[in-house]
């Protein structure tokens, strides 16, 4: 499918509404939003503007938690994670742009637990493109795509946000 025809604005508004609903159904837990650097953070910020609930936003950079350090080494520029709130006992809305193998989410959850014990984690992603290698699923998903092997979907942004599908061999 042609991803450039997708209205990201509609997808994000729809996700924001479902995050609001999710927060209401666990009203006894204080919600916070955490975007995964960089695409996840852009989506989180865009959703936050459209949500009814006021919610603090943090940024997670999972570079130090990746499982491929021994194969690819250090990422050249790692901006520090910034969670300006307690993680302990919070309802965390974890946001990423694309859900693929599930390894990023594994790394993100490991890092979150090093800040404290969340009461609940809700995973919200803009695109689920399949191809999972770990048992992860998104609670809230903007759009499911089925891509061919060797195809990758990438988000560019933050202004404007745009999706492209790239071949790489």
């Amino acid at each position: 499918m042609d991803v450039s025809k997708l209205s990201l604005d509609d997808l994000i508004s729809d996700m924001a509404a479902r995050v609001d609903e999710r927060i209401r159904s666990f009203a006894e837990q204080t919600p916070v939003m955490v975007g995964i650097h960089t695409g996840g953070l852009w989506i989180a910020a865009a959703m936050r503007e459209r949500m009814q609930t006021e919610i603090p936003l943090g940024e997670l950079n999972i570079a130090f938690y990746r499982d491929d350090f021994s194969r690819i080494g250090m990422h050249p520029h790692v901006s520090p994670s910034n969670l300006p709130f307690e993680v302990e006992d919070r309802h965390i809305i974890l946001v990423d742009d694309v859900l693929y193998t599930g390894r990023t989410i594994r790394a993100a959850m490991n890092e979150l637990f090093d800040y404290g014990r969340p009461a609940r984690i809700t995973l919200a992603v803009l695109i689920d493109r399949g191809g999972r290698e770990l048992p992860m699923h998104a609670d809230i998903c903007g759009k499911t795509l089925s891509l061919k092997a060797g195809e990758h979907v990438k988000l560019s942004g933050p202004e404007p946000l745009a999706l492209v599908v790239k071949e790489n061999g």
């Binding site: 950079n61 570079a63 130090f64 938690y65 990746r66 491929d68 350090f69 021994s70 194969r71 690819i72 080494g73 250090m74 990422h75 050249p76 520029h77 790692v78 901006s79 520090p80 994670s81 910034n82 993680v87 302990e88 693929y100 193998t101 390894r103 990023t104 790394a107 490991n110 890092e111 637990f113 090093d114 800040y115 404290g116 990758h152 990438k154 790489n168």
Partner: protein
């Protein structure tokens, strides 16, 4: 083609960290960038990241040290590595084992990194040239030659207070002659483009050829401090002095000890640094060491972040060359 720098792998990544000399500005800035990312780890509930899990790091100390060894140890532990502290002066070499045999023995235990401190200049370079290819070596101070992690933690501390190196006047004060820290700082400051580097001390404690490295030499502390942004005090290294280079400690303090009055010659927002341990009342007055402009304790905390950065970078160099594309995909 010049002969390859032993500190870099074939892709230009940091493989060993032996001296500031030979590293370019981009690499030094990248060490500072990584240190900034690691600095926050110490403030979290779990002060660890899993980056070097399963790696074994050996602190190989041929010369006593508390501060450097403990911050290297903490840095390794915060990266989830296993750490072995070996104090060679009280160990196998006393039983006649050669340095080379000690290294081979440790290699046979599948160690991944040696942090080396030695009283002889060039010891870490020597070891880096002998170890198996998968092992990285970090210089934790060799003789009078160099102490690159101390220099980088000082650069990190300076950067936190004064982000633009090109506008800085920096004075290094005291026993330049015996100081590997001073030598490494001068290289680091010059590489990072500091506007002016000064060394201040008595003639007997300043090497005659120091000006060839770039700094201006002053023998009067008040004059040397005029208008500087950063004052780096050095420890008087009595243990390395083999002849009478100084009249007395009292006299030294009178001429070169940093007091509030003398510090008033520097810029009002100047910061005061010291690599520790401090000799209070000899090179620095307590009111300055504990004063508003002192960043001495920050240097200690930053030492952990900078050593984490260097350890992670050298261990990461062993990885296959990544393409930027493959880094983005998980």
């Amino acid at each position: 083609m010049t002969h390859a720098n032993i500190q870099l792998d074939e892709n230009g990544h940091l493989k060993h960290f032996l001296s500031i000399y030979g590293l370019d500005r981009g690499l030094l800035l990248s060490i500072l960038d990584h240190a900034r990312s690691f600095a926050g780890v110490g403030d979290r509930a779990v002060k660890k990241v899993p980056l070097l899990r399963g790696k074994t790091i050996v602190n190989l100390f041929f010369e006593p040290s508390t501060r450097t060894r403990t911050t290297f140890e903490l840095a390794a532990k915060r990266l989830s590595a296993d750490v072995l502290n070996i104090n060679i002066s009280t160990s196998a070499t006393k039983k006649g084992e050669s340095l080379f045999d000690t290294l081979q023995t440790l290699e046979a235990m599948h160690c991944d990194m040696f942090v080396v401190r030695h009283a002889n200049s060039g010891a870490a370079h020597f070891i880096a040239g002998k170890v198996a290819p998968h092992i990285s070596v970090i210089n934790g101070g060799d003789g009078r030659h160099s102490h690159p992690t101390q220099a980088m933690l000082d650069m990190f501390t300076i950067q936190q207070h004064k982000p633009d190196f090109t506008r800085l006047k920096v004075a290094i004060v005291g026993d330049i002659l015996h100081s590997r820290v001073a030598r490494s700082e001068i290289h680091a400051l010059a590489t990072l483009g500091a506007e002016e580097i000064r060394v201040i001390g008595p003639k007997t404690l300043i090497p005659t050829d120091i000006e060839a490295m770039g700094p201006r030499v002053f023998h009067n502390l008040e004059q040397g401090l005029e208008d500087v942004d950063v004052v780096i005090m050095l420890r008087l290294q009595n243990e390395r002095m083999c002849s009478a280079l100084l009249p007395s400690e009292h006299e030294y303090f009178h001429l070169y000890g940093l007091t509030e009055k003398k510090l008033a010659n520097a810029r009002a927002d100047a910061i005061v640094m010291h690599p520790g341990p401090i000799n209070r009342g000899i090179e620095i007055d307590s009111s300055v060491a504990d004063g508003r402009q002192s960043v001495i304790l920050q240097q200690v905390s930053h030492g952990i972040a900078v050593r984490m950065a260097v350890m992670a970078m050298t261990m990461g160099s062993l990885a296959d060359t990544p393409t930027l594309e493959s880094r983005d995909e998980v």
